[in-house]
């Protein structure tokens, strides 16, 4: 009952504007009138152009399929399903007129209905006449429409025929488009037009899939190279700001890492020469070296010394290996935080006291990977409640404005008066000022880190 009611309502709607739009593209041009044929040819050409543009603009596979289905339903047919394979995945989107879009992603190994599989393998255009009713009809539908809800909707629509169009690009068939119309309407002499349509769609989707596959590879690498999430340590508030020079690569040579047990954390903030993915790879190696070293000894000076030796040894392989960094050991002690800090050629860490006093943490040390046997001295500090430790990379002070660089003075001006604020507010204040100073200009990688210790009163 429900189905027939739906079908009637749909039939009613289809008699109006949708029907007219579909007719513009698919009506049989039986009339020998050359002007009518010409008009249809130009309508079709315009539609194909618009469709190609739409499909290629959307470089996300699932969205592209969904959009394709909705455009086909709007302008041409009453049933549309698109299936593509990419890597180990099979993506399907399908809908009937006025119905929801059914979207699925399954693994290819999980199986595909046999007829659909054949169509994928053969890559040939096929017209399927559906049995009128009963089990044979349901079987025929299920053979091409893997989503049972979609198959039921197509059944209810009373669709009599399906056109199965292969999607082929670069000599391989990677997908299938299945379309159908309401009862009483077929595809007539539109065969060439449909082949043309499938070819255009295939080229657009193929490009989208290629982009998506390489983006996927890149995103896996990006996840392994990007700064890891900060640990949650009771009483310790950590905040970071990170902005890379090459925004579209989303990777840079500035690095931040915090690891270790809650009561004995190692912080590393640094900057390798260069930008983009190459710099990120090198940064990852340095982070790994520091992590390894910190398992042996947690003194920051010793850690930087060992990391330096490793990098110097490898310097021949990695000619652009130069890097700077601050390494600190953070240990809560009652309501205070004890900090041991060493610096390898990096801008000095800042200590913003709760009362607004700003101190520079002075320790000496050459940049990493320059000098064999370099040693790093340590500074010892104690942070009281609401005191903040700030570490930043030179992307902050060297941010180029309309007349000059951001500089140490502006950094101090920003921090003045912000003593006692939570780290997230400190970081944001600096980030806003740097961003305003930069405007739309290109910039280096920028990283800022702040820590504050204020344990829960027990």
């Amino acid at each position: 009952m429900r189905h027939s009611g739906c079908a009637q309502r749909r039939e009613h709607r289809l008699t109006t504007s949708v029907r007219e739009r579909h007719a513009r593209l698919l009506a049989e041009s039986r009339s020998a009138e050359p002007r009518a044929r010409l008009a249809q040819a130009s309508t079709r050409a315009e539609f194909l152009l618009r469709l190609s543009r739409t499909v290629s603009a959307i470089q996300n596979p699932q969205r592209a399929l969904e959009t394709l289905v909705s455009v086909l339903l709007e302008e041409m047919v009453d049933v549309a399903q698109v299936v593509v394979r990419t890597g180990q995945w099979q993506l399907v989107a399908g809908a009937v007129q006025d119905g929801p879009v059914h979207n699925t992603a399954t693994r290819v190994v999980d199986g595909t209905p046999a007829d659909l599989e054949n169509a994928l393998r053969r890559g040939l255009h096929d017209d399927v006449v559906l049995p009128k009713s009963g089990a044979p009809r349901r079987r025929a539908l299920a053979a091409f429409l893997p989503d049972p809800e979609l198959a039921a909707e197509v059944d209810a629509l009373g669709c009599e025929q399906l056109a199965v169009l292969p999607l082929t690009a670069r000599g391989r068939s990677f997908g299938v488009m299945v379309i159908g119309r309401a009862p009483g309407f077929g595809f007539g002499d539109a065969q060439n037009f449909l082949d043309d349509l499938a070819a255009r769609v295939a080229v657009g989707l193929d490009a989208t899939l290629v982009v998506a596959e390489s983006r996927y590879v890149a995103s896996v690498l990006r996840r392994s190279l990007a700064p890891t999430e900060l640990p949650q340590v009771p009483g310790l508030q950590l905040a970071t700001y990170y902005r890379v020079a090459h925004q579209s690569q989303e990777l840079g040579g500035d690095f931040l890492d915090v690891h270790g047990p809650d009561d004995d954390l190692i912080l590393l903030c640094g900057d390798v020469a260069g930008k983009g993915v190459e710099a990120a790879v090198h940064a990852k190696r340095i982070r790994n070296a520091v992590r390894t070293a910190s398992h042996v000894d947690r003194s920051p000076g010793w850690i930087l010394g060992l990391t330096n030796s490793v990098l110097v040894d490898e310097a021949e392989e990695f000619s652009e290996g130069m890097a700077t960094g601050v390494c600190a050991r953070l240990r809560p002690d009652g309501d205070r935080l004890r900090v041991d800090l060493a610096n390898a050629g990096h801008p000095p860490a800042l200590l913003l006291r709760a009362d607004g006093t700003l101190e520079e943490v002075s320790t000496d040390g050459v940049a990493l990977a320059l000098l064999d046997g370099a040693t790093y001295t340590e500074a010892q500090l104690t942070l009281g409640p609401l005191d903040s430790l700030l570490v930043y990379t030179d992307g902050v002070t060297e941010a180029r404005g309309v007349d000059d660089l951001f500089g140490d003075r502006r950094l101090r001006d920003v921090l003045r008066g912000l003593g006692g604020l939570p780290p997230s507010a400190l970081i944001e204040s600096v980030a806003v000022a740097v961003s305003d100073h930069l405007g739309e200009r290109a910039h280096d990688d920028i990283a800022i880190f702040a820590a504050q210790f204020s344990p829960e009163p027990s």
């Binding site: 003045r416 961003s435 305003d436």
Partner: protein, 339 residues
């Protein structure tokens, strides 16, 4: 009383406000969590406590009752509360994919965080990209996620030119874009002029707005009115315009010998910070063909300067310098003169 109609009580807002004013994130979270536990739905807690308090924070700063530092501290409290409330909300694995971001150089993250959390609480799969999201980052996220729609938040009218550029970027990917935030007018006219697919007045109406969105949208057509051309030219050299206007203003008000050791709450520092915003607002008003964009900013900045004891003619001097500098932009000159 049913659970779903429970609203924030006056005493709860008072207690929350006391915690925010003290910069006490733990106390603020305790109030918000208790309100939620009492049966007030999360979206209502967010709107009735977090957003309500944040509006008051902005007003107190504008009136110079609060320092920048205090405003920052209170804002950090609001963000911490939203994050902690969010940690208890499960991440849906079905439901529409949505991407929420703040426009580039827009640092008021709280409204977008609230929208993101409200939608997550209502079963949407939301990716929140954070404050000041660059166009490149946004487009990358769209390609990777394939969201049903992108929601862009803008709180400052000076962000409108950047809103337009991000609308172009998003629509270039065929994705519907919904605008929200105080930079837009309640009737959604500015959003429409900027090419948005839709406008959402508040986090609560976003779901209804989403239901009516098309699956895909065509690229944004170019804006061709005379003001649009001028806006583009002003944006392209906004740095130098702003420097020239500041120099002229400084000379006229005798500020050039000021030694720069002013705190961030001094009116001279505030003026220098907001001149670039005024210029962006001129561009925004021209882009949206909405002179109230400029008039609102002017009124707001006038109040902020007066609250900080600025020379009464300071704003007039800035406007004169700006009109002078933009003399070859007739639409801009008319806009400034008409305000």
């Amino acid at each position: 009383m049913t659970v779903s109609t429970a609203t924030v009580a006056g005493a709860e807002l008072d207690a929350y406000w006391t915690a925010v004013a003290a910069g006490d994130a733990r106390a603020a979270y305790a109030v918000a969590a208790a309100t939620h536990d009492r049966g007030v739905p999360l979206p209502e807690v967010l709107a009735g406590l977090v957003i309500a308090a944040q509006r008051r924070v902005g007003e107190l700063w504008a009136a110079n009752d609060w320092t920048v530092a205090r405003e920052h501290a209170a804002t950090a409290v609001g963000e911490a509360v939203v994050r902690r409330l969010g940690a208890a909300v499960p991440t849906p694995t079905t439901g529409p994919l949505l991407t929420v971001a703040c426009v580039e150089r827009e640092w008021h993250a709280l409204p977008a965080m609230v929208v993101a959390l409200t939608l997550r609480a209502r079963g949407c799969q939301v990716t929140y990209l954070g404050a000041s999201t660059s166009r490149d980052h946004l487009v990358s996220a769209i390609l990777d996620i394939g969201p049903r729609a992108v929601l862009l938040s803008a709180s400052l009218t000076s962000s409108l030119p950047r809103v337009r550029r991000q609308v172009e970027a998003v629509r270039g990917t065929g994705t519907p874009v919904v605008l929200g935030g105080r930079a837009l007018d309640p009737d959604g006219r500015r959003a429409q002029r900027l090419g948005a697919t839709a406008y959402a007045r508040s986090p609560e109406v976003v779901l209804d707005v989403l239901a009516a969105l098309p699956v895909h949208v065509p690229p944004a057509g170019p804006l061709r009115h005379p003001g649009a051309f001028e806006a583009r030219s002003i944006e392209a050299e906004s740095d130098t315009i702003s420097r020239d206007v500041m120099l002229a203003t400084g000379a006229a008000l005798g500020l050039e010998h000021a030694d720069g050791d002013h705190t961030s709450d001094d009116w001279r520092v505030v003026l220098a910070t907001f001149v670039p915003h005024v210029i962006d607002c001129v561009a925004g008003a021209l882009l949206t063909e909405d002179p109230t964009v400029y008039a609102e900013t002017r009124a707001w900045l006038g109040g902020v300067l007066a609250g900080r004891g600025a020379t009464p003619q300071a704003l007039a001097v800035v406007e004169e310098a700006l009109a002078q500098r933009l003399h070859d932009h007739p639409e801009a000159v008319r806009l400034i003169a008409g305000a």
